[in-house]
Symmetry: C2
Subunit: 79 residues, 2 copies
Amino acid sequence: MGKRRQRPGVQERFGYAVRSRRESLHLTQEDLAEKAGIHRTYLSDIERGTRNPSLVNIDRIATSLDLSLPELFVLVVSG
Amino acid sequence: MGKRRQRPGVQERFGYAVRSRRESLHLTQEDLAEKAGIHRTYLSDIERGTRNPSLVNIDRIATSLDLSLPELFVLVVSG
């Protein structure tokens, strides 16, 4: 069998969605972290897919990206 | 001013959605916990809104409820 590219895990897909939306809003990581009340390095780790964020922080990030939770997760699953 | 009922937090709304969907599938807490690979008492706490589940566990729960992540969060926000 040939090589297969593994489907990114949910942390990676979530991080990619957050970064894409943040950039489309022309927000820096510092801007978004401050809006969401989380630390900038924690947000950076979330965007790189190396953190497993909690529901409460996911909700804060969605609000700070002007998205409902379903809207944010549509971006996560649509890649 | 009169009394106001406070809007439930995201943990409570999430827990209510999980319980409602689980019951509509005629699954016990033990059934769902086993499918999702989480402990039954942890699931019970999530349903009561006293836990702040992580993205990875949210994803496992959604899959075990035969829902996509956007579908699960539509239930969360629609109450």
